[in-house]
């Protein structure tokens, strides 16, 4: 800054230069996080895998054959030049179905995760912020919910409420809420004793303001990490539920559903099951790699 030009500039200009420098510094900090993520092989691998499936979910119909077209002349054919992944019991192209199968899971899992973050976030904030009896009661309820086996509970609830995709999303979101609320509660407890929160209380701020505006912006990193962890599990749970016959019905190319309907041919035409199963596995691994990369960069 101590160049002759700066010294010659008027006070107003100096002010503008200084402001610009301050803003640049802030942008530099944010860019550093992004750069660190781009440089992390773990994050990038996961990111590429997930990006691949998102791309396929959106555009696979333009690239492959139709996932629902039945070809009675080509039933249970092994992988070949015409059908790279082979065909299923109705003569449908397994490649087309596998690629298109990403669509349902990539709608259900993220929406369920967002619901879980929203509900868990509110419960965790309230519980961690108020502590005392509020915290005790909420956390004991959370303990009870955590003790429920996820799959059995969701089957019961879905049998009761109906099997639509929307209900599957809500049920997964609700079942993940207790775990999320615990993570967020722990993060809130770490922040609430900090001096800036005491300063807010001495200013007469309402509790809702302190939670939403003072504490929440400072716990975004644990929230993001928790979100990606839940996303991985949500992919898994959504697939399991459709495997069990909830949420989706044939002829949807959904992976879980496909594995369920084709598994009787596992002995004679293993490609009908293995490709959707492998697709599911890569997506879960991809999401988990993103989680790992994020938490490593954040903890630095």
């Amino acid at each position: 800054m101590a160049t002759p030009q700066a010294a010659a500039a008027g006070p107003g200009e100096q002010q503008i230069q200084a402001n610009a420098a301050a803003m640049l510094e802030q942008r530099r900090q944010r860019r550093y996080l992004v750069k660190a993520l781009l440089r992390s092989p773990t994050f990038m691998t996961g990111f590429v895998i997930v990006l691949f499936w998102v791309f396929m979910a959106l555009f696979s119909t333009f690239l492959t054959q139709s996932p629902t077209d039945i070809d009675a002349m080509a039933i249970l054919q092994a992988p070949s030049a015409a059908h790279w992944f082979g065909t299923d019991d109705l003569g449908r192209d397994v490649l087309a179905r596998t690629m298109a199968g990403a669509r349902t899971v990539l709608v259900i899992a993220p929406l369920a995760t967002i619901l879980a973050l929203l509900w868990g976030g509110i419960i965790g904030l309230v519980s961690g912020f108020y502590r005392g009896y509020t915290d005790e009661i909420i956390m004991r309820l959370v303990d009870v919910l955590l003790a429920l086996p996820i799959i059995i509970t969701s089957i019961l609830v879905l049998s009761l409420l109906g099997k639509s995709v929307a209900i599957v999303i809500v049920v997964i979101g609700a079942l993940f809420t207790p775990v999320v609320s615990r993570t967020i509660r722990a993060a809130v407890i770490g922040e609430r004793e900090r001096e800036y929160v005491m300063a807010a209380r001495l200013r007469g701020e309402r509790s809702a303001f302190v939670m939403a505006r003072e504490i929440l912006p400072n716990i975004t990193q644990p929230i993001i990490v928790e979100g990606t962890i839940r996303l991985g599990y949500a992919v898994f749970t959504a697939a399991t539920l459709s495997f069990l016959g909830f949420g989706l019905v044939p002829p949807s190319p959904d992976w879980g559903l496909t594995i369920a309907t084709e598994r009787i041919f596992l002995q004679i035409a293993p490609w009908t099951v293995l490709f959707p199963a492998a697709a599911l596995a890569t997506l879960v691994v991809g999401v988990n790699l993103i989680t790992d990369g994020l938490s490593r960069v954040f903890s630095k």
């Binding site: 002010q15 200084a18 402001n19 420098a21 301050a22 803003m23 510094e25 802030q26 900090q29 550093y32 900090r194 001096e195 800036y196 005491m198 300063a199 807010a200 209380r201 001495l202 200013r203 007469g204 701020e205 003072e214 912006p217 400072n218």
Partner: protein, 720 residues
Amino acid sequence: MSAVEQPANSPDAAPAALDVRDLEVTFHRRGRDLPVLKGVTLRIARGEAYGLVGESGCGKTTLAMAALRYLAANGTVDAGRVLVDGQDLSTLSEEAVRKWRGEQIAMVYQDPATALSPAMRIGDQVAEVFRYHEGLGKAESLERARESLRRVALPDPDATLRRYPFELSGGQQQRVVIAMALAVNPHLLVLDEPTTGLDATVEAEILDLIEELRGRINAAILLITHNLGLVRRLCERVGVLYAGRLVEEGPARDIFTDPRHPYTMGLMRCVPRFGMNKTDAALQTIPGTLPALGEPLQGCVYSARCPMAKPVCSRREPDLYAWPGDAGAKGATEAEAMPADPAAYSPHHANPVGEAARHARCYFSADVAEMPRMTPVLATSLEARGGTEGDVLEIGDVSRTFKDGRKRLTAVHDVSLSLKRGETFGLVGESGSGKTTLAKCVTGLIAPDSGSVTFEGMTLRATAGRRSQDALRAIQMVFQNPDSTLNPAWSTRAILTRAVRKLGAGGGSVRAKVDKLSADVRVEPRFLLQRPTDLSGGQKQRIAIARAFAGDPTLVICDEPASALDVSVQASILNLLVELQTNERVSYVFISHDLAVVRYISDRIGVMYLAELIEVGSAEEVFNPPHHPYTEALLSSIPKLDFDSQQQRIPLRGTMPSLSEPPSGCRFHTRCHRILGDICVNDVPPFQEAAGGHTYQCHIPPDELLALQTATEPAAPIEV
């Protein structure tokens, strides 16, 4: 010892304990090279204690780490070499260095809690040193561990061996760390801020221990600290580091009585001398801030902040010249004649080894004694600040108990005090004495169990949430930790704007008020755009002060507002508080463990011990006899800078009793050096009035106490 290599041009026959030559260390961070140490040369003779001082970020710890080959992975030694006991560490293998370090060097860090494994018993941890380095068996090594605990004067070594670190106090933990450090009879003992974070009385005990051990061990000491008083007490020689450069070096006594570098002088002037008060003299601060790591500097590293800098200083860097001598002036003449071309400049460093006893990196060392003083605002008298207008705050019999499992810890017990308008009430006492809890009871962050807080004649609600906005506006607080006092997610301007919106007394635009506040605390407007993480500790604390003043408060509670800051920054924060008080006629409750600081800023002082206020009086009265024996012991424990002050240390016996089971009678009787006998054990002492408004809680009447405390004979601790 005979096998080790002799340093090339050492004048002495025996190799120095530590011999650092032209050491250059660079850190690599985010793709940038940041030079941390630039051509540092120093030499510690065997058995010598060397103090390394300077503000944080000057490279003190890096120097020690580089010397021990402990540098972090992103740091490299670019030039120079380090000989420890004549041995060049860089030539050894990783494994050999580890073995060698264990046998020759010991380190004691700032935080004893992190130096000890929380999962291991003390005995096992200390014994491990003997098992690993001397190959002793289990029983034998435990026996040696017991011996070494006895050596550091830990009470009941047998019981301590069986304890876990969390069962010991901070002072005891540090004793264990020192015991482990000395277990191998090291040739070099590195103490990195060994007493920072410990109470004054504990600090004094640790210093006594180190001093006492020095007579028995043959180790050289490298003491790294920001506390000049500590160096003055322990060290024969001292080096002053600034921005990676050694700027002054020599015998501690000479440097502290007659500094010859403007930075050393600045450091000495910004610490309040003991007994100094804000109405006598303002603290001298060092203008500007430490250059950021890697910032290109031309000429003298200190020239940008130096009050006596001349054009030549920023043209060519001065060498480390011998003092006394005319070399500095000669260098300046040469530099004046040089063309102002940075390319022509080549750094060269005078090598102090074996030359003169003192060196200073300054052209104008001769003028340092007359370094110009700044004239910051001097505090006005209490009367001018409104002190005659009556009491602003009245605390009546406030108590607060916390539950810890089944134990009930009374943190504040029946404390009463009052505060006048414009007055500063200093609150001192060791950690755990209840200072902060009392302060939080006043602000409403903690609700007292009983007692009342009356403010301007109105009894306040117990918690902040139930108080009116007017009551909140009137009582604000400045917190201790600059890193958590501001919300890191908000910009500085947003923080102040919100404070003005919620607390501002109306009238005028919010924006104008924010600008005025930041101008009042001397924060440049450009910093308002930044987030707290981009500000220095001093700037953060200034913003926190501005936030507290947003609603023109009547009372501001300052809980250790400057203790986490470097001394020069601390001085400027204290000056700022004094200035704001003079202008705004605000009252302060000022909490600090630094007695010189409290004495400087306070009009009246209260001393807390074990949840009770045991002495109250004017700052001068409390700090002079007759005063409570506890106050007497506290005061005697501070390491002072003046060489000629006769200091009698009064060691406190034992450790602080538990708050859940305070001692009977006088709470201080278990540690008191002036204990009378059963009366102290059985009867709660009365408050004795020593002078108008000066009272203390003790069985000894003022005239007797005065006679005892002014007697030349040191008081011998009496065993009960």
